[in-house]
């Protein structure tokens, strides 16, 4: 009976250590803001015809409304960020508990897609367009690459 308890104790102790090993030094992280819009989603927008209320009916309220010399600019934003890291020094804490430096390699990126519409004084679309930057977000292990 004592032998059995001892065996279980060591199994659980090793599982704790292993779960820490798996969890601690490696991380994949991702952050997203809002749903991306596609060309298809905005195909109904026609310059000089479509009104603000029609756009809002289809796409919802924009995230930003700004003043510009050409009229009022409404912007829909989608952001995607990715980050990856490995701490190669993490396991050192088991060998030297008093000094276990971080040896971290990692990296990531964030990009924002924007769909922008300019309205005139009567809230009719003057022009519209996309800016795609979300492709810039990627998990990156090697931070020294240009």
């Amino acid at each position: 009976m004592i032998r059995k308890i001892r065996t279980w104790f060591w199994i659980i102790a090793w599982l704790f250590v292993l779960s820490g090993c798996l969890r601690g030094p490696v991380a994949w992280q991702r952050v997203t803001l809002n749903r991306p819009l596609s060309e298809e989603d905005v195909s109904f927008v026609v310059n000089g015809k479509t009104s603000l209320s029609e756009v809002v009916e289809q796409l919802g309220a924009p995230n930003q409304m700004l003043s510009s010399s050409g009229g009022t600019v409404a912007r829909y934003q989608f952001t995607d960020g990715k980050y990856f890291r490995v701490d190669f020094g993490w396991g050192l804490r088991f060998l030297s508990p008093f000094y276990s430096p971080d040896l971290v390699l990692g990296g990531g990126g964030a990009g924002a897609d924007v769909f922008q519409i300019t309205y005139n004084d009567h809230w009719i679309v003057q022009d519209h367009g996309f800016a795609f930057h979300s492709q810039l977000s990627k998990f990156r292990l090697w931070p020294f690459q240009d």
């Binding site: 199994i11 599982l15 704790f16 779960s19 969890r23 603000l52 309220a61 409304m65 009229g71």
Partner: protein
């Protein structure tokens, strides 16, 4: 684990300790500090009922402020004032080594004419609720 010897001399392990071990490891992996679900928000969630009480061509700036509260931002565009209200909802999941954070924004714009009366209310359909996710690769 101790093997059980059958009469023919073969040794096999019982299923019970194996399933207990599997359960134990799952619990340690998930409920040990390798798992977190976090929820947060920023700004007040404005309900559609409040918005529908704002009447185009009737409600004034003061009435809008009384219904929805002070705006988070005031933008001036095309000679008009625009009250901007926003609400952010955040759900974050972290399981062992994977983490994903989803953020949703709900925005409402109330546009006033030069006389300070509501010209338009820009509020789309409420976006569907966010999901808790932890898988970062899709």
């Amino acid at each position: 684990m101790n093997p059980i010897f059958h009469q023919n001399g073969d040794a096999s392990y019982t299923k019970q300790p194996i399933s207990a071990l599997a359960m134990c490891s799952i619990l340690i992996f998930l409920l040990g500090n390798g798992c977190a679900f976090v929820r947060g928000n920023y700004g007040e969630d404005l309900n559609q009922g409040d918005i529908s009480t704002i009447k185009k061509g009737v409600s004034t700036r003061a009435e809008v402020a009384a219904i929805l509260g002070a705006p988070d931002r005031i933008v001036e565009a095309n000679g008009r004032d625009i009250f901007h209200y926003y609400h952010y909802d955040v759900k974050s999941g972290y399981v062992i080594i994977f983490s994903r954070t989803n953020i949703k924004s709900d925005d409402i714009f109330v546009i006033f004419n030069t006389a300070g009366v509501v010209e338009d209310v820009v509020a789309g359909r409420k976006k569907p609720p966010l999901e808790f996710q932890f898988w970062p690769f899709d």
